[in-house]
Each structure stands twice: as C-alpha cells, then as structure tokens.
C-alpha cells in the first residue's frame, strides 16, 4: 500500500480529482441557480446527456471545439426551457417533469446515436478530445502546477464559475431577485416584476452550465459517445447541491469529495489492488445517501422555502 503515497501518485490522484469534479461543479452550479429560483430541476441528468450528445455531434460534424461547446450549451438551454415552461408556465408537478426530461434524453440520444452513428459493421465514430491546456508559468509550480494548472479549459471555467455564480447570486440585483423567487415569489410579483420571466432566465442559465458539464463528459474526456454516458453524474450534482447547503463554495467542496473518491478508485484499480471494483463504483452513490442523512441532522437549512412549489398569483 506504500505505493499509494508517492508524490507522483498523489499528484496524479489530485489532478484527476479536479478533472473529474469539472462536470459535477458545472452541473451543480447550474442546478443551484435553478433551485434558488424555486425550480427543482430533476432533469439535470437528462440535460447533461443531451448536451453531451450535442457536443459529440458538434465535434464530429465540424471538428471545432467551440462549435461543440456552443451546441452543448444550446442543448442544455433547450432542455431546461422545456423544464421551466412546464414548471413556471404550466405549473406541472416539477418532479414528474424532471423525470420526463431524463427519459426523453435517454430515449432520444440513444435513438439518434443509433440512427446516425452506430452503423452496423462499422467502427464507432470518434472525435478529438479537448487537449490539456497548461497555464504558462503557473503550471510549473511544484505540486500545485500539475494539479491545478495543467487541466483542460473547461476545468478552469468550472473553477472560475464558483466565485462568479456566488457573485451573481449575492452581489447583483438579478441574484437578489432570483434568491427571492425561491423564498417568496410574491415579493417579486407585488413589485410588478415578472416571476416567470426570472425563472426562465435562471433555469436556462443553469441549463447552459449543465450543457458545459455535459460537453465535458464527451468531448472533454472521451473520444466516443456511448449510451447513458453521463452515468448518474447529473443525479450526483443534485445531491451535491443539498450537501453544499445551497452555497456555491459548498458545491466546490462536495464536488471535490465525490471526485476524489472516483479518482482514488481509478488509481487503486490501476495498480491492481485485489478488491471487487463494484464496491468502488457503488461508493459515490452510497456516500451520497450518507451525506444526505448527515445533512438532515445539521441545523438551519438554506434550502429555498418555495423549492418545487409552483407560484400562483392567487387571483380567484
């Protein structure tokens, strides 16, 4: 076991942690904005999956990373548009809508992939994976350099988004209004401001972040698309928001915890320790349940009071 703790291995595990945390951070931040606006978007998994597929198509068709990212963001926004339309305009039960989105994404991505890409008897199509972009000078700092500053652009974006989202939510008027929606939307309505307009904005901005998260799952990490490639990361993002007590900084920490676990199991598998790998694969999900139980025992929750509750004006 001593092998586990050499410098190179520690660095590689920590670097992998940051890498693996990328989509979790992005998706959880996106979900945070939506939930702060009072919309419980359980469709994160599906939103990420559609975006992952869109990014794959974009990269495959154009070869341009930028186009791929753009498509992923658009896909994320389109999916979250459905979510917010159903939730804010039609006032459909948000849990059911979110689930419907996941099922839609699973079915659609599978069908479209099989219809257009997985042609029988041919090799699976591949795209170029985003390259690592070391930041000049910073990446040469011992330890920190290879861990923090030798990552892909999307990873830098994700880390940067943590303070950005915090600033947005707590230091701008839009953030103030969005947080107000999650707590008492009537306070917005009685000021003559549109509740649903703001919810559309919040959920779709969140969808854009989920889109980036999805893009990282395909073009950020894998040359191929496989069905259900997001493999529960969207659901973990939802857990992360809870474990983070609806705070951006908490999201960073919680995402890193999950990612570290994953990075560690990759490392352990890599050096061939004899243990059933299924245990490690199941660990994040068990940890998620444990975290939620622990969270429930903590004091004052920051959970938005009106999360998941549709707003009616009360006009009889």
């Amino acid at each position: 076991m001593g092998d586990l703790f050499t410098d190179t291995i520690v660095i590689s595990v920590l670097a992998a942690t940051i890498r693996i945390a990328t989509p979790l951070i992005l998706a959880a931040l996106g979900e945070l904005i939506a939930e702060r606006a009072g919309i419980l978007n359980l469709g994160v998994e599906g939103t990420m999956l559609m975006a992952a597929f869109a990014a794959f198509i974009g990269a495959y068709a154009t070869g341009s990373t930028l186009m791929a990212l753009l498509l992923a963001v658009l896909a994320g926004m389109a999916m979250s548009f459905i979510m917010v339309f159903m939730a804010a305009t039609l006032k459909v039960e948000q849990v059911v809508t979110g689930l419907a989105l996941n099922l839609l994404a699973a079915g659609m991505s599978l069908y479209l992939y099989k219809a257009f890409f997985a042609v029988e008897g041919q090799a699976m199509p591949t795209v170029a994976v985003m390259p690592v972009a070391p930041i000049p000078f910073l990446s040469e700092i011992p330890y920190i350099g290879p861990i923090l500053f030798t990552q892909k652009v999307l990873t830098y974006v994700a880390l940067l988004m943590v303070p950005v989202v915090w600033f947005f939510l707590y230091r701008t008027k839009y953030g103030l209004e969005i947080r107000c929606l999650g707590e008492n939307p009537k306070a917005i309505d009685t000021k003559g401001m549109s509740v649903s307009l703001r919810q559309y904005g919040a959920v779709m901005a969140g969808g854009a972040l989920c889109g980036l998260a999805g893009a990282f799952v395909t073009i950020g990490s894998s040359a191929r698309f496989v069905p259900d490639i997001t493999n529960g990361r969207g659901w973990l993002a939802l857990v992360i928001v809870i474990a983070a007590n609806w705070r951006p900084s908490g999201i960073l920490i919680a995402a890193l915890v999950f990612a570290f676990l994953d990075a560690l199991q990759l490392q352990i598998q890599g050096i061939g320790v004899q243990m059933p790998y299924q245990i490690f694969l199941a660990l994040p999900y068990v940890l998620a349940i444990v975290l939620m139980v622990l969270k429930s025992r903590r004091g004052r929750s920051e959970e938005p009071a009106r999360l998941g509750v549709p707003y009616f004006r009360g006009e009889r």
């Binding site: 459909v92 599978l110 219809a115 059933p276 939620m292």
Partner: protein
C-alpha cells in the same frame, strides 16, 4: 402581455379527453418526424410496429407477456405517487426482488417443485419491499429526499448484482455476467406456451385488481391519498404520515420486486442484468399516463408492451433503431403533461 394561464374552477371532462387525444397525436407526429429524419419510411415503420404489437393472437400474447413487468412497475409507481412519495427506484427494487427470489432458489433448489412458487413470489415481494422500504425509512426518519435516495439505490444494487454475477452466483460456463440457468421445474408455468405467456401475467392482473381495491375501497388507500393530497391535514387528523410513507414504499417496492421475480423465473430463466429493459422507469410513464389509476395502468402497460415488441419488428423491417420506442414514450409523457396541465387552466390572451 401575451399568453397567460388561469386555473379553471372545474376541469371539464370533455376537454380532458380532447387534450389527451391531441397529446397522443402530437407525440405520434414528432415520432414520425424523428423517423423521417433518419430516412425511414414512416408508413412502413408504423405498420410494422402495429403488426409486431397486436398482429395476430400469438404476437398479442407476447405483448401481454412483455407488458407483465410493466403492469407491476406501473402499479408500484401508482401507489407511491398517490402518496406523493416519489419512488424513482422501481428499477432497483425490481432487481432487489429478482435477487431475493434467486437467492431463495439457490438455497432450496428446484426440489420443491410447484410448492416453491409461492415462496419465490413472497421472496420477490419482500426483497423489493425491503429495498423500497429502506428509502421510505430514510425519508421518514431523516427527511432525506426519496427521489435522490431511490436513484442512488438503483445504481448501488446494479453494482451489487454485477459483483454477485462475477462472484458467488456466476455461471462458470459463460463469458457473460449471468447466473446459471434455472431448473425447468422452478419456472413459472405457461398460460399459453406458443405465445410465451406465463403465470406472471395473471399475477400482474390480480395485483392490479388488488391495488384498485386497496386504493379506492380500503381505509389504507384513503390514508395514502390523503397524505398525498394534504399531508398536514392528514397528520392533524391522526394519520401517521411517516409510517404511511414507509408502508407505501414497501408496497411499491414489493410490486416492483414481484416484477423482478417474474422476469427471472418466467422469462429469462436466469439472473442477469437483462431481466429489466428499464421497466422501472417505463413504469413511471405508464403510471402518469394512466393518471394513477390501476385499471388504466393495465391498459397503458399493454399498449407499451406492444410498443416494445412492435419496435423490434420495426427495426427488422426498416432498419430504424428500436430505441425510437423509448423516445416516443417519453415524448408522449411530455405532451400528456402539457395537455393535462392545459385542462386545469384556461388560456387567456391578455392585451397590454
């Protein structure tokens, strides 16, 4: 100002029917577009689906067999959603039931013959029920969101299954992750062998009848619905909301577990991850489309069973991937939710 929705005082039955029909047509239209975009002949495809679903007695029987697990998962979701307990874990509970019944089988072997069947059913129900009950308990005791726990538990049990199938329950003669084949003596008896229709279908129908009675005629169902509609008032009037939620999850998980047992002993005749084609998730769509009514669950599940089988036929006939079926199902759900919402509101065009 544009489009605005106002709640209707009384949803009219006529509009409800019309909007559901419109939703189905819209879903069909979108599916046609999807097929068309991939260069598939839509007419041929739809005809193949219909033919593969209900074209002849034997295919219809196969459709009923296919629908069997979906009836049960649909009922599982129905029970849970009625209490507004969002059980997304029917898939995991199905596997829990399958594993519990298979475990019992590994202990007893086929020697008991037909006498074993009731025990296997019981094991399936208990296995799924305990796994569902776990999520229910976490919800009631710790106020942990059951959507997330059930999703997490879905993943956990699949990895557990995978562990067992490469470990203690592995079929040594096979390359795949699967158990050994179950002895014919322990198979579910056929109702009609040519259509591969087995006893499980009858069990599912009986379950639907039972759930109908429980939900609409018993005080337990009365309490479940009261908890779902207004948990506060229910609590104030002496209904134990926490205990009801756990009971609902046990019943819901048990129904899903039955589906798992039936798949193992009636269809696949071995334990493997292929016993479910996402039936736990399809059950959600079925239950919602059936407006959480057990009778309608049977109807919609049979329709979906037809879809699934018809999809395979369509793939053979046109080359279009049968995955279109799950896309159609999800699209139907979204349109249905929209339509159902519209019946609850009046659309009002407001000028500024």
């Amino acid at each position: 100002m544009g489009l605005r929705l106002e709640p209707r005082l009384a949803p009219s039955a006529r509009w409800q029917a019309v909007s559901v029909a419109v939703a189905l047509l819209a879903a069909l239209a979108v599916s046609a577009l999807l097929l068309e975009s991939a260069g598939t002949d839509v007419g041929v495809a739809f005809a193949a689906i219909l033919d593969g679903a209900f074209g002849g007695l034997r295919t219809t029987a196969k459709t009923l067999a296919k629908a069997t697990p979906m009836i049960l998962t649909g009922l599982a979701i129905t029970v849970a959603f009625r209490a507004k307990v969002w059980n997304i874990g029917a898939e995991g509970q199905l596997f829990a039931g399958a594993m519990a019944s298979y475990w019992l089988y590994t202990l007893t072997g086929p020697a008991l013959g037909m006498a074993l069947l009731p025990l296997l059913f019981a094991a399936g129900f208990v296995g799924g029920g305990l796994y569902g009950g776990l999520a229910g308990w976490l919800r009631s005791a710790f106020r942990v969101n059951e959507v997330l726990t059930t999703v997490m538990l879905n993943y956990v049990i699949l990895y557990l299954l995978s562990f067992l199938l490469v470990g203690p329950w592995r079929d040594q003669s096979s390359f795949y992750q699967q158990s050994e084949r179950i002895d014919r003596a322990a198979w579910l008896p056929d109702l009609w062998a040519p259509g591969k229709l087995h006893l499980g279908f009858l069990v599912a129908i009986l379950a639907a009848v039972a759930i109908h009675v429980v939900m609409n005629r018993s005080w337990f169902g009365y309490e479940v619905k009261a908890v779902g509609l207004n948990a506060r008032a229910a609590r104030f009037k002496g209904i134990n909301v926490e205990r009801t939620a756990v009971a609902v999850m046990v019943l819901s998980g048990g129904l899903a577990g039955l589906a798992g047992m039936i798949q193992v002993f009636g269809v696949n005749h071995r334990l493997e991850s292929d016993i479910s084609l996402g039936f736990g998730f399809t059950g959600i769509i079925i239950a919602v489309l059936a407006m959480l009514r057990p009778g309608w669950v049977v109807f919609v599940a049979i329709l979906f069973g037809g879809f699934e089988n018809g999809g395979i036929k369509m793939q053979v006939a046109t080359g279009a991937p049968s995955a279109i079926v799950s896309a159609i199902e999800a699209i139907t759900l979204l349109f249905f939710l929209t339509a159902a919402a519209l019946t609850r509101f009046r659309i009002v065009w407001r000028s500024t």
